[in-house]
């Protein structure tokens, strides 16, 4: 008989507690982000495809076209070319492409770069109808940023 009434009160109290939880949640702001209309900030350690770092002092890339990234890449998706420019002693970068369909985002190229010329981008809106759309010209992307 004691159990009969204690069940009633304990159960009733837990029901009220539950209702308080949902009523509180009803008044709190919602968590869902309406994606195409709103976007949230990407965390700084997000790994998108690689990009060349824009050196703020020289207003150009830091890359010295040494080819370390090309050689270290396990998927062989980076292609680099440098050419001699008159008046300069070393080679200058003339081509930097990335085949993102093969890239596994391991980050070896970013780590191995002797001049810290590579970084991960924040691009995540990636969708296209053809494979070729993912063959990025990284140097061109940088030149667009310079302007």
């Amino acid at each position: 008989m004691k159990r009969y009434f204690s069940d009633l009160f304990v159960g009733g109290k837990s029901l009220v507690d539950g209702l308080v939880v949902t009523l509180k949640a009803l008044c709190q702001p919602m968590v869902t982000v309406q994606y195409p209309r709103e976007e949230i900030d990407i965390t700084p350690n997000f790994r998108g495809h690689i990009d060349l770092v824009l050196d703020p002092e020289k207003n150009t890339f830091r890359c010295i076209a040494c080819g370390m990234c090309e050689r270290s890449c396990p998927s062989e998706c980076i292609q680099i070319k440098g050419k001699k420019v008159e008046g300069k002693k070393k080679k200058t970068l003339s081509l930097f492409t990335l085949d993102f369909t093969k890239c596994s985002l391991c980050g070896t190229c970013v780590e191995i770069c002797p001049t810290q010329a590579l970084e991960f981008s924040n691009e995540y809106n990636l969708a296209a109808f053809s494979r070729e759309a993912f063959h990025y010209d990284i140097l061109k992307r940088l030149e667009e940023r310079i302007i």
Binding site: Y4, L8, L15, G18, L19, V21, T22, L23, A25, L26, Q28, P29, M30, V31, T32, Q34
Partner: protein, 327 residues
């Protein structure tokens, strides 16, 4: 014009009332469907419908058009008559209770002197509809849903009647208008709090809504008794459910929350409907919150609760009420 003047005025009045009530039923279902999905969304901290119209306000209209456009599918081995009869039986009786509910002092289609009894008898036809639909579908899930619905309804009809009886004892009438009139000074919820709680719990169970939605139980029985229904067949069940909710809430308002009574308004005998609707939709909001808060009860828990708690408590409540009134 001459034909109209020869018709009995009472007939014209009834026709108008029925037309208004049927259109209100559809409006109510649309509003409740939208509210339900919005509240469900915000309880789970998501926005709910957002795409159709501003904040998804036209979502239910679009859903309705989709349902009307669907084919009325009749599976092969079903009992065709019963299968067709189910949705109609579930929708028709839920209109009738609204004819006797006093929305305000002068807005009532018909004041039956046995109004409360009429409502109870009409709402219990709903069980019949579920049984017919479940049996006619020739599907094990539907059959299980129907059987559960019957057991549940028998269990919860008794406390609902007993809690109503306590109010009837105090008001000394079955007429809904006179019951509201008797609450001029004090609402019956203050005199009969226990009966109110019992009524609300059993009322939620009567409408087959979560946490008492065992006849539907989508995680166990796909959709229970309406598994096989598509298009308008399904939407008639849907309309029936929301109208049933409205009936339960408005009967609770009439019996316990003082009906149309509230702070005085100009044209009070008509505008009392504002207070009435405020109270009804507060109760409906509460019922939606309950649905999105509690998990579904198990079947033995459901019946234990009815027979071991609700029935004895309502009997004791009636006994005390009778003794106090006699003194």
């Amino acid at each position: 014009m001459e034909i109209i003047s020869t018709l009995p005025p009472e007939l014209i009045r009834m026709v108008f009332a029925v037309i208004i009530i049927i259109s209100f039923i559809f409006l109510n279902a649309i509003m409740m469907g939208y509210l339900e999905r919005k509240i469900a969304g915000h309880v789970q901290r998501r926005p709910g419908p957002m795409e159709v119209g501003s904040h998804g306000i036209l979502q239910l209209v679009v859903d309705g058009v989709k349902l009307v456009g669907k084919e009325l599918l009749v599976p092969v081995n079903v009992d065709r008559t019963l299968f067709r009869l189910g949705p109609i039986l579930s929708f028709t009786p839920v209109i009738l209770p609204l004819l006797v509910i006093p929305f305000s002092e002068k807005l009532q289609a018909r004041d039956l002197n046995l109004g409360l009894l009429f409502i109870v008898s009409m709402t219990s036809i709903n069980v019949m509809a579920i049984l017919v639909a479940g049996w006619g579908s020739n599907n094990k899930y539907s059959m299980f849903g129907a059987m559960r619905a019957v057991a549940q309804s028998i269990a919860y009809e008794i406390p609902i009647l007993l809690s109503m009886l306590a109010v009837v004892l105090m008001a000394n009438t079955f007429s809904l208008k006179e019951i509201v009139g008797a609450q001029q000074k004090i609402w019956f919820i203050l005199l009969q709090p226990l009966a109110f709680i019992i009524y609300i719990i059993s009322g939620v169970a009567e409408t087959n809504r979560a946490p008492f939605d065992l006849p539907e139980a989508e995680s166990e029985l796909t959709a229970g008794f309406h598994t096989e229904y598509s298009g308008m067949g399904f939407s008639l069940f849907f309309l029936g459910e929301y109208t049933n909710m409205f009936t339960v809430a408005s009967v609770a308002t009439v019996l316990f929350l003082g009906g149309w009574h509230g702070p005085t308004l100009p044209y009070g005998e008509y505008l009392g409907i504002v207070w009435f609707f405020l109270k009804v939709y507060f109760l409906l909001f509460f019922m939606i919150m309950i649905r999105w808060t509690y998990p579904r009860v198990r079947f033995d828990q459901l019946l234990n609760f009815a027979w071991k708690y609700l029935v004895p408590f309502s009997l004791v409540n009636i006994l005390i009420t009778a003794v106090v009134i006699k003194l």
